[in-house]
């Protein structure tokens, strides 16, 4: 099964993370990975290594906030929640992505 490598996803990582948080509410890093691969039908697999620097950068940028919670299994995990500024960012990136996808599709269809 072809797996999307991280470098292709570079620009879309924030978009995916923000979209995930929007639909799932508060979630930890591992959950975000799982959600994306499950929902994409295993088409998209985040490179786990790049997820955490991205999460921390997004938190520094004020798009998401975090807090430590205890999971059902009794483990300590850091849960991320989207902030109002994250909503704006998501709308922005959504728009950018659609434009990009439309553009790429047009180029591919051209004959």
């Amino acid at each position: 099964m072809p797996k999307s490598r991280n470098d292709k996803l570079q620009g879309t990582l924030t978009l995916l993370v923000l979209r995930t948080l929007k639909s799932r509410g508060s979630l930890h890093g591992y959950g975000i990975c799982e959600h994306i691969s499950r929902v994409s039908g295993d088409l998209l697999q985040l490179e786990e290594g790049s997820l955490y620097p991205a999460l921390h950068r997004m938190e520094q940028d004020g798009w998401i906030s975090s807090q430590w919670e205890i999971t059902d299994k009794g483990r300590k995990a850091k849960f991320y929640t989207m902030s109002p500024r994250g909503e704006e960012q998501l709308a922005d990136e959504n728009e950018t992505w659609s434009r990009l996808a439309r553009g790429v599709t047009r180029v591919l269809r051209y004959s």
Binding site: H28, G29, Y30, C33, E47, E48, G49, Y52, P53, H56, R57, Q60, D61, G62, K73, R75, K76, A77, K78
Partner: protein
């Protein structure tokens, strides 16, 4: 705020790391759980999970960097590294920090004084608008002077007030001292006579009650007084009910109207006023109930005005000049002789900036303080050179490490920064310690300059100016000290450095030439300081061994004040005699005499005299005077060269007689034997000039101060003058220390009248106090000179030791080949002598300039005093040779085989 978070995270890096670790661990644990659920063994699951996460520690690093201001974090790491480096070498750190602290502390302390005494404005409203009125140089106003800042008479003050148009308002003031005690030893308070609008001109309000107003200073004069905050605290413990109370001055109770705020110390920098009275109170407190306002040649007031908007000091000066002729004409003292009057009418007034107040302290100490600042500046420079030298030596030890790091691609700027941080740390620690040092040092300086009779008040609160000064100094120091070694260390070809480290005979020549330059600089600068301190010490010695014309040891001046007793004038002569009789039988008193003005007391009296038949009004010669009683010269220890002392047959009705000193005899009588000759004294216009017959000739004596040239002196018999002040001064020669007779004198005087005021001045103390400034310069410059030489010695020792270490194998080979050990020593000393020679040559040139700067403060000494130059050279050479002999001897005594095996 992201940047704020990042900034903050720098200082919680540890817990941040732990959080990231926890987060990643959670991720791993969940992944492992899933993989195990899918059937993988736990061990394999962990490996797989780690693989998927990628390089774990790189992961951590990257995540961490997202949270931290990277450059700041690197700086923090540099600081930690720097601190570790310094702790590895505590000897270096201690010497470095201490020498910088002394340099910076000295500079800051002196700057603090300069700031307080010379730069700061008065703590009043808009001080830059304040202007003082003064007379142009060469102005002629013979008369009675009250204090150095005094400028005008009451009459002139009123004329200026009424005629000027440049000031919004103008005030007059005069300092005075009041005795608060009713008899016995005095309790002095610093007073200010002020015109009614004084406080309004300054724009200061009372903290409690009210300030004085124009109404208080009226012709009817029903005076009240205003207290300073410090006096209120000291005398009344800050009692708010003080406004209902009064203070007795000269037998008169004066009500307290108000208390001034703590920051207001008056208009004289260096003095703090205790109580302020309206000008008219001078009349009420005067013995004759007249005061100084009625005397046209009594110069006692200073004038302070606040400029109108748009006016400047220059425009005020211009107007005062224009007003001058009219004001002089209207205030001409009628007693002046015609030519004195002519000179008086040409006097011109002008305006000077008054915002920084008036200060005798400033007049006396501005130049010495700047000079001291230069001295401490040099000390700091030497300390910097020393430090740069030490850092260079350390950098050369770390040369290999730096070369390797450069070779594997470390950025040069990063390395420079790391090296700079080390010097910054030293500079910071030095500045902080120096700041602490400065506070106590400046306090000690003020205490040093305070005497019992003149306690200084200097506002030494730390403000932004001082802090800024120290900061700038610290940063400059850091750059001076750190930039050179850092630049040098990172600009050597890595290959050369790696090859050279600890091996080559000639390597590091460039670097060691830099270090030699630094040592030469140190030697030359410390030579300048040593020379300077020798100048001041020798100057002080000259002053201490000066021939004053009397023997100060064992002399006690006793000032008696019976103004509050009100003895009738006719009885005073009898009272003096009785005092004299009673005092002379006190055990320990060898002899005593009365005198109106004692030497070095600061009081003076001069006038024009004409020899023999020449009337004083036609003479150009002047002399200084003192009135003394019988036995004065014997008591003072001043030799009588010819004729006689005054005795009991000189009375108020006998012919007027005088005793003159050598200088008087030479100036007035051309050096011929003056006994039997006579001279004329000036008199007020319309009165006959008194003629005195000279009955004695005495050795010359100092009059006003020790530093001045001998002046022509004439002594009058005190019983023959009209001086019947309600005060008297006796000089007592005591067998032991003067302190021992004080109790006896007090008891004797109290028996005559308990409310007679009494004040003691041992003459030797007065003499010492008159040399305070010289003592200060000698002490401080000697201290700093010593410090400078010490630092230079350390520097020289360091460089020579380093050279010896570098050439150890060469020396080893030489010895192994049979070189004489003394040859080795000579080889090394030659280097030291070269450095010393260069340093001394440069130092001698600099010293000539330094001497010029100090010239006005020296006594009996040329600014390029050869003895001091020679002594400084010799002393420095001796110490320097010793500092280099030790490493040289060590090198020569070393086992050559050990040195060679080391290679």
């Amino acid at each position: 705020m992201a940047w704020l978070d990042r900034w903050r995270n720098v200082f919680r890096a540890e817990s941040l790391n732990r959080e990231i670790e926890d987060e990643l661990q959670y991720h791993l644990a969940e992944t492992v759980d899933r993989l195990v659920a899918e059937g993988m063994s736990e061990q394999n699951a962990w490996r797989a999970a780690r693989l998927r996460l990628g390089n774990y520690s790189a992961q951590k690093e990257r995540t961490r960097d997202m949270n931290i201001a990277t450059w700041l974090d690197a700086t923090r790491a540099d600081f930690l590294y720097g601190i570790r480096q310094l702790r590895l070498d505590p000897g270096f750190a201690t010497i470095a920090i201490l020498s910088l602290a002394l340099g910076i502390g000295g500079n800051t302390a002196i700057f603090q004084l300069i700031d307080a005494v010379c730069l700061k404005n008065l703590p009043v409203q808009n001080p830059e608008e304040l202007v003082a009125v003064d007379f142009e140089k060469g102005s002629s106003r013979p008369g009675v002077w009250y204090g150095r800042s005094a400028a005008v008479s009451s009459q002139q003050w009123e004329l200026i007030r009424d005629q000027q148009r440049v000031f919004r308002s103008v005030a007059a003031w005069s300092p005075d001292r009041f005795n608060l005690a009713d008899g016995g030893e005095p309790r002095m308070a610093e007073g200010l006579y002020v015109s009614g609008d004084f406080f309004e001109v300054l724009g200061v309000n009372a903290l409690l009650g009210r300030t004085l107003t124009v109404k208080d200073d009226s012709a009817a004069c029903n005076p009240g007084m205003v207290l300073s905050y410090a006096f209120w605290q000291r005398e009344f413990a800050g009692d708010p009910g003080v406004l209902q109370r009064s203070i007795r001055l000269g037998g008169r109770a004066i009500p307290i109207l108000g208390v001034m705020p703590a920051a207001f110390f008056g208009v004289q920098v260096g003095n703090q006023f205790d109580l302020a009275l309206p000008l008219c109170a001078d009349r009420l407190l005067a013995n004759d109930q007249q005061g100084r306002a009625r005397i046209p040649f009594s110069w006692w007031l200073s004038i302070l005005g606040r400029l109108k908007p748009g006016e400047t000091v220059a425009s005020a000066s211009a107007q005062l000049r224009t007003l001058s002729p009219g004001i002089m004409q209207s205030s001409l003292p009628p007693a002046y002789q015609p030519d004195t009057a002519k000179r008086f009418l040409q006097n011109k007034m002008f305006a000077v900036e008054g915002g920084s107040g008036f200060s005798r302290l400033r007049d006396d100490y501005e130049r010495p303080l700047w000079l001291l600042m230069a001295i401490t500046g040099l000390v700091l420079l030497i300390a910097c050179a020393n430090l740069a030298n030490l850092l260079l030596a350390r950098a050369s030890v770390r040369e290999r490490e730096i070369a390797i790091r450069l070779a594997i691609g470390a950025s040069r700027s990063r390395l420079v920064r790391q090296l700079l941080v080390e010097s910054l740390l030293v500079a910071l620690a030095g500045s902080a310690l120096g700041m602490l040092l400065a506070v106590s040092l400046s306090g000690a300086l003020v205490a040093f300059l305070s005497t019992a009779d003149n306690s200084l008040f200097v506002d030494l609160t730390l403000d932004w100016r001082i802090l800024g000064f120290t900061t700038v100094l610290g940063v400059l120091t850091c750059l001076l000290v750190g930039l050179l070694p850092a630049w040098r260390a990172t600009h050597r070809a890595p290959v050369a450095a790696m090859q050279a480290a600890g091996r080559s005979v000639t390597a590091g020549n460039r670097q060691s030439s830099l270090r030699r330059m630094l040592v030469i600089t140190q030697v030359s600068l410390s030579f300048v300081l040593l020379f300077g301190s020798l100048l001041f010490v020798r100057s002080l010695q000259n002053l201490l061994h000066i021939d004053s014309g009397f023997q100060a040891d064992g002399l006690l001046t006793v000032n008696l004040d019976f103004s509050s007793v009100s003895y009738p004038k006719e009885r005073r002569l009898a009272l003096w005699r009785e005092m004299q009789d009673r005092l002379s039988v006190i055990p320990g008193v060898v002899s005593l005499a009365q005198a109106s003005i004692t030497p070095l007391s600061g009081s003076s009296w001069d006038g024009v005299v004409g020899g023999d038949a020449t009337p004083a009004s036609g003479s150009t010669k002047s002399a200084f005077f003192t009135e003394v009683g019988p036995g004065y010269f014997q008591t003072m220890g001043t030799p009588l060269l010819a004729g006689r002392e005054f005795n009991d047959r000189d009375t108020s009705t006998s012919p007027k007689v005088a005793i003159v000193d050598e200088i008087f005899a030479r100036n007035i009588f051309g050096g011929a034997n003056p006994i039997g000759r006579s001279f004329h004294m000036t008199a007020d216009r319309g009165k006959p000039e008194p003629v005195y017959e000279v009955v004695g000739l005495v050795r010359r004596s100092k009059y006003g101060e020790l530093r001045e040239n001998f002046k022509p002196l004439a002594y009058f018999a005190i019983v023959q003058t009209n001086n019947l002040d309600p005060s008297a001064t006796f000089v007592l020669r005591t067998a032991g220390p003067p302190v021992q007779v004080m109790d006896g004198v007090k008891a004797t005087i109290a028996a005559l009248g308990p409310s007679i005021g009494i004040n003691f001045h041992p003459l030797s103390v007065q003499l010492q106090n008159s040399l305070l400034r010289d003592r200060l310069m000698a002490t401080l410059s000697a201290g700093f000179g010593f410090l400078a030489v010490l630092l230079a010695t350390l520097g020289l020792y360091g460089v020579i030791s380093y050279m010896v270490a570098q050439r150890r194998n060469e020396i080893g080979i030489r010895i192994a080949l049979g070189a004489d050990r003394s040859n080795v020593i000579r080889l090394i000393l030659r280097e030291a002598l070269f450095l010393l020679g260069c340093g001394l040559a440069m130092g001698n040139i600099l010293a000539l300039f330094a001497g010029k700067a100090a010239a006005t403060l020296l006594f009996g000494l040329e600014p390029h005093d050869v003895v001091s130059l020679m002594a400084a050279s010799l002393l420095l050479a001796l110490i320097a040779l010793l500092a280099s002999y030790l490493p040289a001897k060590k090198a020569a005594d070393g086992n050559p085989m050990a040195a060679l095996r080391n290679e």
